[in-house]
Symmetry: C2
Subunit: 248 residues, 2 copies
DNA sequence: CGAATACTTGATTACCTTCAATACGCGTGG
DNA sequence: CCACGCGTATTGAAGGTAATCAAGTATTCG
């Protein structure tokens, strides 16, 4: 089985293990794999895609651009995420997807996904569930940007990314790759670059984290979580790991 | 057919008309209807619901509460919306639903929805599509709160609500019921009440709207849309109304 | 090694918050 | 009927967080 297929299966099995026959169907599901370099718009606002992508490795973000040129990053994607699954149902793309690092992505034709979902309800439910988790994350982002002051806001974002990557086995000692610039952080947090810089310094000074050259380390996780008022329940991660899934 | 059923059918038919047999299945779908008074928490963060609700009439909002007591309203719901459909897939509720007016709501058992979705893929796809539209709205909210100054932010919110209600035929001459206090607006926009008050006055003075006693009127829609940088495409409304749907 | 990109720092400004006080509307009960 | 309480709206003043403007330093990379 291709690694793309196993990542897809894992992503759709989050809650309950898929029946074997559905896993088999996914194992032979046509996915076109592609390497994408850092800094590429994989999908653009206004597009009318005929395929959806699944992130296989690396980091991407989705963002919206305002008339005045401002940019809001609305989410980060980690391996297993299907950031533009919406295009399966909604004709024109309302946001763009950008690679923050060199990435491996898989493309799945809408026609194929449609067929699969109609013939295999558990798979449709799996996709649907995944989008509902995304929605929960969006709610938290709105809350984060709307209610928390800069320090807490940034700490919260770091906690989220670290937790999601940890769940995938992509961290080591509370440390993970986070190839984003301070400009990116500013656009994700709704702050200016200058203020992001000062906020970062404050967090560093507090001893809760290290962040340099695209590497994030939580030096004091409890402190960082407190600073960000971080409660991971909105991520709806399954801790009972019936099928412990580590990405290759 | 009950009015609840027809609202549900309309909500799931947004993109493509459902096959007759699926409509029939929905027509006889068990929905328990309930009247709910203004200011009630219909669902609470932390709940583990066994049913999902569909709003039949009135206005509700979903919100999250922070440890310090702050509240962020993350969305408003209009008739036809199913704000806690996520509970079908995610065990514990990560947000609360509050009635902003007297409401009529319908409750659908998860078990029934599950069964329906497994036996009738087009219905599952309809539900799924609806959640993807919600997600698109969340993205826009994050952007709104993260990037736009107070005046634009508020104007944008008003445009969204007015547009959604207009699409349901619940407006008259650019005017609609919007039974929210300035405190509610503050919590939705991530602003203080005082500043909401001043921002409102500014909008009023500009002549773009009237807002009093829970009634919103766009006196100058083009101006209001400009003030809010409002582009309705993220709402993914179908304008081609194959089945023009007005709620009773 | 030079240009571009990313980061850092200082000074000034402004948007928005907080605190405080007043006014208004409405339902309840004396 | 009026007093009272409570939620809502309004206004003034002061303060703070974060934006903007500006300049300089590191880093990366071709």
């Amino acid at each position: 089985m291709s690694s793309a297929a196993s990542i897809l299966i894992a992503a759709l099995s989050a809650k309950t293990k898929l029946p074997d026959e559905d896993q088999d169907a996914l194992a032979s599901f046509p996915i076109e794999e592609l390497e994408i370099r850092r800094g590429q718009d994989i999908i653009r606002e206004g597009d009318r895609p005929t395929r959806s992508m699944i992130l296989l490795s690396g980091l991407t973000c989705s963002y919206k651009t305002l008339p005045n040129g401002n940019r809001q990053i609305t989410a980060f994607q980690v391996p297993g995420d299907v950031p533009d699954i919406q295009s399966l149902h909604l004709d024109v793309q309302d946001n763009s997807i950008l690679s923050m690092s060199d990435c491996r992505v898989g493309f799945m034709r809408h026609r194929d996904i449609h067929e699969l979902c109609f013939s295999r309800p558990p798979i449709a439910m799996g996709f649907w569930r995944a989008t509902l988790v995304d929605t929960a994350i969006y709610r938290e982002w709105t809350t984060n940007v709307g209610q928390r002051p800069a320090v807490a806001r940034m700490a919260h974002l770091f906690c989220e990314v670290l937790t999601r990557l940890m769940h995938l086995g992509l961290t080591k000692d509370y440390s993970c790759a986070l190839p984003v610039t301070q400009v990116d952080l500013a656009d994700a947090l709704g702050l200016s670059v200058v203020h992001v810089n000062r906020t970062l310094m404050e967090l560093r000074k507090s001893g809760s984290l290290r962040f340099e050259r695209g590497e994030l380390t939580a030096l004091n996780w409890p402190l960082l979580a407190r600073q960000g008022q971080f409660d991971p329940s909105y991520l709806h991660l399954q801790m009972d790991d019936h099928a412990p899934y580590k990405l290759v």
